[in-house]
């Protein structure tokens, strides 16, 4: 294979934008996703992704920023779930599933039924990273950076409220605020990742690299760094492979991440034998 062939994807602006955009969100999603995995709230991440879709659909139809629509719906979902679990004290899986699939279905019907927008349906569901514009990349990068900074600044606090919320609250620590901030970051991360891999697969960007890293280390900071590295690696390899084989980029990225997980699982099992 000649060097020209290896570098071929980088000759195209749309591929470079895809690499940068997907890489950025993959790093942030994988870092934030460690909390999603450790607290076992992947299901909620999926719910947020699906309701965000309806937020995007409404924003498109109303002609406002899709980020505003998506973030609004994502936050309403996240905070609604906090409220639900704090008030009713039950993990209301069924209620959440009914609610988020209902909202998701509404978004599909609205978007498919509005003339001129049905084409967006497919790209939202499966991602449209190749169609990403430079202006969108800059916005994504700015948001990813903001989320990364918030994540690092409040990291120890997120750990505290995840590990011992009761003890922290008793000592006067603002537990509800910090938990809400963490969920807001999770929600916003999902929103900026939708363009890369689409609504249906976005949760994989959060949980698969984090779960893989969780198989390899128990040191929290190392786990997060490893997860981010795996996220970046998967997005890079996935896009590369999808370029040469003409495969859907978002799905290929997730497929690579899943293969890496399977590999890590195999290595872990072998080490134990």
């Amino acid at each position: 294979m000649s060097i020209d062939l290896i570098l071929e994807p980088f000759q195209y602006g749309f591929m470079v934008r895809a690499f940068v955009g997907t890489g950025l969100v993959a790093i942030v999603a994988a870092a934030v996703g460690t909390f999603v995995v450790l607290k076992g709230i992947a299901f909620m991440g999926d719910a947020i992704a699906h309701t965000s879709f309806t937020g995007i659909a409404l924003a498109l139809i109303l002609g406002i920023s899709v980020y505003v629509g998506a973030l609004l719906f994502a936050l309403l979902t996240a905070l609604g779930v906090i409220f639900l679990t704090r008030v009713s004290k039950v993990n209301n899986d069924t209620a959440l599933a009914i609610l988020f699939t209902g909202v998701f279905a509404l978004g599909i019907v609205l978007l498919a039924g509005t003339p001129g927008f049905s084409g967006d349906l497919n790209s939202l569901l499966l991602g449209s990273v190749m169609a990403i514009q430079t202006r969108e990349i800059l916005l994504m990068a700015a948001l990813a950076l903001l989320l990364a900074i918030l994540f690092v600044v409040f990291f120890e606090r997120f750990v505290l409220v995840s590990f011992d919320p009761v003890g922290a609250e008793a000592a006067g620590f603002p537990v509800v605020f910090v938990q809400s901030l963490l969920l807001t970051i999770v929600a916003a991360t999902i929103v900026i990742s939708i363009q890369a891999v689409g609504v249906v697969l976005v949760v994989a960007l959060l949980i698969t690299p984090a779960a893989t890293a969780g198989l390899l280390t128990k040191r929290l900071k190392l786990l997060i760094l490893l997860s981010s590295a795996l996220g970046l690696f998967s997005s890079f390899c996935g896009l590369y492979v999808s370029y040469f084989f003409g495969a859907p980029p978002g799905a290929t990225v997730v497929l690579v991440a899943t293969l890496v997980f399977a590999l890590a699982l195999g290595v872990q099992k072998l080490r134990r034998v």
Partner: protein
């Protein structure tokens, strides 16, 4: 110094629980600083409810006085450490022992501020105080129940808490670990800390406390261990409810 500031806990006529389920009625308790207090009583007797209400995790239903460390509960909270029941903590979260102890500093800092070298020095000193120095880099999940409790006490120490409340600290500890726990609590009270521990079974912890409060929906008895832990009191306090199945299959509770 006023009388009030000598008291770590000053509670009068407190009712607590939930609006549709009053768990505790008319509780009064005065505890001097540096005292070791045990709260005993059957399950559902209101021990946890009293602790949770004192630290503001539950809203009190009514009271005439509710002061901690001479302040209202909201202001006092920074100087209060509450060790939750085992199942309220996510022990599987990948944290080292040192990470957990450092949290005592974080709680004092609130929303802003990073760990400094002083925080690490204090945390390592606290670990040594509880004989856990060698476990600094061990995962919290890998420790025994007794060791985990000691890590949380170390965290309370670096939080500079003056009042330490423990909800069922003896759960899952064998007799030896319970004795070690009792010794450590005594050591802390000698340092001027006020310790209040709720425990549903009568164990070796109870005997070495200064003050015992027996709860069964209201104050059943309180005083020194000798005064409260009499056979007569204990039989009545811990009388069990046995389910009894009637002739037509209905289940009723019969008190023995």
């Amino acid at each position: 110094m006023s009388v009030a500031s000598d008291l770590a806990l000053d509670i009068e006529n407190l009712s607590a629980g939930y609006p549709n389920n009053v768990v505790l009625q008319d509780v009064s308790l005065q505890v001097k600083r540096g005292t070791l207090v045990a709260i005993i009583g059957p399950n559902g007797g209101g021990k946890s409810t009293l602790l949770k209400t004192a630290v503001g995790l539950l809203q009190p239903l009514s009271y005439t006085v509710l002061e901690l460390l001479g302040q209202n509960p909201q202001t006092a909270r920074r100087n209060i450490a509450y060790l939750p029941q085992q199942e309220e903590v996510d022990w599987t979260f990948p944290l080292t022992v040192l990470d957990v102890v450092l949290q005592g500093r974080l709680v004092r800092k609130g929303l802003w501020g990073r760990y400094n070298s002083q925080d690490f020095v204090l945390s390592r000193e606290a670990l040594d105080f509880f004989g856990l120095g060698e476990y600094e880099r061990t995962q919290i999940e890998a420790l025994s129940g007794g060791q985990r409790q000691r890590v949380f006490l170390a965290r309370a120490l670096v939080q500079e808490a003056d009042l330490i409340l423990l909800d069922e600290p003896a759960t899952g500890l064998d007799a030896k670990a319970q004795h070690e726990m009792a010794d450590l609590l005594a050591k802390l009270s000698k340092e001027g800390k006020t310790i209040v521990a709720a425990t549903h079974d009568l164990n070796c912890l109870t005997e070495c406390f200064d003050h015992v409060l027996a709860l069964k929906g209201r104050v059943f008895a309180q005083g020194t261990p000798e005064e409260v832990l009499t056979e007569e009191n204990m039989v009545e306090l811990f009388a069990r409810h046995f389910p009894k199945v009637g002739a037509s299959g209905e289940v009723t509770l019969h008190e023995h």
